[in-house]
Symmetry: C2
Subunit: 210 residues, 2 copies
């Protein structure tokens, strides 16, 4: 059985929980509170020298980091991975876009504004850039969704899961989605997918960090 | 034949040229000078609304963006893609790391310090973060290379191509690799690979931007 090292309130960790839930794959979850330093213990760093969650024990002793690489691994041979080769390339295109243009801005704003007490004051110098770049990236998504129901081949796929995690948190960290009606409608379409679970959902098999 | 929209001095574009050269795949190259606004023309934005290079016309009328998604598409069914499923997942892990932790720091420093006149003064406020985060990411690479000759399965792969592009430019934009001997040795191993071409290399089939 897979073991997932995850933080409940991490958007990157949520992506993996959502995919596992939608695929009906049972897994053991270890909750890692990065705000309490649990991703920086010698035990955790031995598994992931980069000290980040999510982390998937994909095979005994083989640890896989980077949320979107974990997603891609999990959806292999499932309906969440697009069928055609060029569509698969487009899914990865959106997933690299997500890690390059969405997560570093909306993810950073979410972390410091919604999770860290006093984070707004600490990161005041960076906030303006996060907002500007975040809105620019949301506009790329909005434009795509004007002509498509989902990000690849007009079917729900792993690319939607990757983009959903932080897009659905944007309103909790100062982004105003009023002028992004297509994104708001797409967020609702994702939440209506079979097997969808919210960020609060917990699997049955939860154990404490070592 | 593939058409690649590329900028000669872009590290992300170089990744794709290097992979195409090493795989012996002929391609038509369209040089796009983003410093002259050539990625913001209506013609280019119709192909890539995000306005970035590299961009690959992967099939007639199907344009693929994001350098690492293009790489993954090109190496499918070639020796540059790791053979085993879990190794492929690790390759993608390093490629997401590259776009999240290397490119936004070393890539940004390279762009503003090495390509844009007066860029240092314009970006003085961001430079300290790029340096700090860039060195932290280089340390992750250095630690890995203490125990491995390459990034995945101890064989040269697409993950090395992705990481090489900006790592080999680090010295041109203020990073000092003196204390990273493993990275320096790996850079030499990559440059000694069959079919390696430098960033200056041009394919035979070059056409001007439309």
């Amino acid at each position: 059985m897979y073991t997932l090292y995850s933080m409940q309130r991490s958007g990157n960790s949520y992506k993996v929980r959502l995919a596992l839930a939608q695929l009906g794959i049972p897994f053991r979850l270890v909750e890692i509170d990065i705000l309490k330093g649990e991703s920086r213990t010698p035990e955790f760093l031995a598994k992931n020298p980069h000290g980040q969650v999510p982390l998937l024990e994909a095979a005994p002793g083989r640890y896989l980091a980077e949320s979107n690489a974990i997603l891609w691994h999990l959806v292999s041979r499932t309906p969440l991975r697009p069928e055609h080769r060029i569509d698969r390339a487009e899914a990865l295109q959106w997933m690299f876009f997500e890690q390059h243009s969405i997560e570093p801005n909306i993810g950073a704003a979410y972390f410091w504004l919604a999770l860290v007490k006093g984070g707004r004051e600490l990161q005041q110098h960076a906030l303006e850039d996060w907002m500007e770049e975040g809105y620019r990236s949301l506009a790329v998504m909005e434009n795509h969704l004007k002509h498509h129901r989902y990000f690849v081949g007009d079917h729900y796929s792993v690319a939607d899961i990757a983009l959903y995690a932080y897009a659905h948190l944007a309103h909790t960290c100062d982004y105003d989605l009023t002028t992004f009606p297509e994104i708001r409608a797409w967020l609702e379409r994702v939440a209506a997918q079979p097997g969808y679970v919210s960020m609060d959902w917990q699997p049955e098999n939860v154990v404490a960090a070592e």
